[in-house]
Subunit: 442 residues, 2 copies
């Protein structure tokens, strides 16, 4: 026999075993269901694209992180590192067929050659939805409602969507005549939580040349607190006189009012002027979403409004708004919050293979249970019952169905609750409802 090849995955890549993959798939299914219920349609794009296409927007850091190579036809190709650049290329390429507004979701794998020492993976799933081709605030409102529904559907009640609008900070800086310093201002404000107001003040003065009054106005703005209404009032005061700033305030007011009317509780939608999300790309509403019981994990769903999605590929101006669910981060959070079931099987019940001659009966029993919407596996070999029950336990089955020749001849089966150890013997036709009783007992 030849030498064995060591079975291993590449650094930064990982396998998903059933116990992890089952909740991961469920999460993707929930996202798909919610996106679809708002009329977002699925698309898919190739994992590999011309490097020229992908290089377009990413900026220097992303470029170095690309898995890039020459294919056997001599083409310079790379694996996609996000779903936004492919979306831009896709919309530019198919604009005529798609029509506007165009609402799509895209759940797919992306690859980045990141430094794995920070606990990052080089392959991960993105879960994006966007509305393209409209500047209407109705799309911003809907995006907020989608995020809200999404987290409820996943099983969270304690979360907060932090919302801001890029126009208000820009408006304030316009009013302060610091509009050309916005990158530097944001850089300083980003450190507020870490270094405190006094140091940010110093940095604003040294990097932007802000006067004491200007710096104070910026800091007062960035630390506005209170109810959403109180913050909006503060923002309105701060940007008064800037047309853009006033537009941002009007947008925020429309968004907050509509979400309240649609039943989003105040606690789950917080106006937060401290969030910024990458100055260059976003131009209006921006979102971040935090889990109340695990704020340290950071935003698990972020996004915002942009003025022009695909300027690199088409002259057609395509405004839009979207957000991205951080699937892997959210799964990690759910694991930490003990929200994930432990089972390594998607089926609820195991039919034990008790009597070697009775396979047909076991198959018929399984079909009966399955026809009632309950997942069921038939153990493939007539091994010792103890061994089969051990297997059932290890996999996380909730119920074992046990029947020997006597029970089957009497038209009966034992339904065993694998958590409590209790069991009842019922007529075969009643097995599905007996299983449901066990499952509903929790």
């Amino acid at each position: 026999m030849s030498k064995l090849i060591e079975p291993r995955t590449l650094k930064g890549f990982r396998d998903f075993l059933p116990a992890t993959m089952i909740p991961r798939e469920r999460l993707m299914e929930t996202a798909r269901r919610v996106y679809r219920s708002f009329g977002f349609a699925p698309i898919d794009t190739p994992a590999l694209e011309y490097t020229e296409i992908l290089l377009g927007k990413g900026g220097a850091e992303t470029d170095k992180q690309m898995f890039r190579f020459e294919d056997s036809g001599g083409r310079d190709v790379a694996m996609r590192f996000d779903l936004t650049v492919p979306l831009a290329r896709f919309v530019a390429q198919h604009a005529g067929t798609l029509g506007l507004p165009f609402k799509r979701y895209h759940i797919a794998t992306v690859w980045r050659g990141e430094n794995t020492q920070r606990g990052r993976y080089r392959e991960f799933m993105q879960c994006d939805f966007d509305t393209i081709g409209t500047r209407s605030i109705a799309a911003d409102i809907e995006t907020t409602l989608v995020i809200h529904e999404l987290f409820l559907a996943i099983g969270f009640t304690d979360f907060a969507i932090h919302v801001n609008n890029r126009k208000v900070l820009t408006g304030l800086l316009e009013r302060l005549q610091l509009a050309d310093k916005s990158t530097l201002v944001l850089r300083a404000l980003d450190k507020l939580a870490k270094i405190g107001a006094a140091k940010v003040n110093e940095e604003l003065a040294s990097t932007t040349g802000a006067t004491t009054e200007q710096a104070a106005a910026i800091l007062e703005f960035a630390t506005l607190a209170g109810t959403n209404d109180e913050i909006v009032a503060g923002v309105a005061k701060a940007v008064a006189g800037s047309a853009l700033g006033e537009e941002g305030v009007a947008d925020l007011r429309s968004l907050l009012a509509a979400c309240a009317a649609a039943g989003v509780p105040d606690a789950r939608l917080k106006l937060d002027v401290s969030i910024a999300r990458g100055l260059d790309y976003y131009t209006g509403t921006i979102f971040e979403t935090f889990l109340t019981h695990l704020p340290s994990i950071g935003s698990v769903c972020s996004g915002g409004r942009y003025d022009n999605l695909a300027g690199l590929y088409t002259k057609q101006e395509l405004p839009g708004i979207g957000a991205s669910l951080g699937l892997d981060r959210l799964l990690a959070a759910m694991e930490e919050l003990a929200m994930l079931p432990k089972a390594a099987t998607p089926a609820e019940a195991l039919v034990t293979y008790f009597d070697a001659e009775r396979l047909h009966d076991y198959l018929r029993l399984a079909a009966l249970v399955r026809s009632d919407g309950i997942g069921v596996e038939v153990y493939p070999e007539p091994k010792k019952l103890g061994q089969q029950l051990k297997y059932a336990d290890g996999r996380g089955f909730r119920v074992a169905l046990i029947a020997g020749s006597n029970e089957l001849s009497a038209g009966e089966c034992q339904v065993k609750d694998l958590r409590t150890g209790g069991s009842e013997t019922v007529p075969l036709a009643d097995v599905p409802s007996a299983i449901k009783r066990v499952l509903s007992a929790g």
Copy 2:
């Protein structure tokens, strides 16, 4: 403004637009649902692996087709070209955690640098399920039942699972003392439909040195026809005396009897001694599945039993059985058979944005409809109704909900069937049931 980048995909790669992606996702969901209902659990593996791992089994043709490159860390890596090699690596690597028997499904993209002139794509989806760690015929039976359920669940009634067992041909050749010529025999038999019996006879004589009697026995075997019972009887006669052949006959009999007992009609399970599926890998039961109304498209679900999955990576012998749904081929078939809906939206209803001041009412109406399980999109801008209805029609919405200020003040809404053009005005609370009436009208 800088020069535009031409938006295009690589040769052999393609985008999936909503109208194609919606049925594609539904097909994957159906497969997942059926696999899970039999206790198969999902896994995922990296798109990129060490080339050494992937090279293991594929053979010369596959090697040339790999997307292979050196990553930025100097590793020789490649994109997976199937899901079987990664499964072998995965099971060898995680054997201790997984336990046996291990039943998994894996729906994922694979890449092959195929000649695109044959209408093949370089990126496509595979949809595999396997049971590993048992030699029991119960697993072969279950695999057959899964295929049967899968096609019913997708919406087919007219299909046939062709089943054979590698042991019976091997048994026949043993009996004829041509066991070492099996590759050549299969190569000749593969041409039966194309070149006819006489030419196959000639080829058998010239390549394997078969006598007239031997060649006649092989041809008689390969052309056995009739009911499953008649063919089994013919096979049993042909292999009588070969232990392996008799084992194959016993396996086939068990499988046919169990599937019949489980309710699979004879017309959907055909014993077909002419199918072979790659001599080297499969060692027992083999499957191909054909659509009655589109046989020309070839097998849409194939697989079989193997003795040792992961011999390249582990000393542990891992027998198993599995099959793979040809997702893209099946979708092409369903399109040809007009089984696919045409809609480019996953939502059923569009709320038209009729009165600019009434957005909150439209959002509330949408939430009401959605809470009843109906997908609904709110048009994002208060444009002319005709334009919105044209959009609804183009996307393939089934229903438009139309309400101006007067209707809303009266607590009413017009529910318009976009296929018939008919409409009825109902109280807002009755909108979900009015939509369901339209949908159930087909």
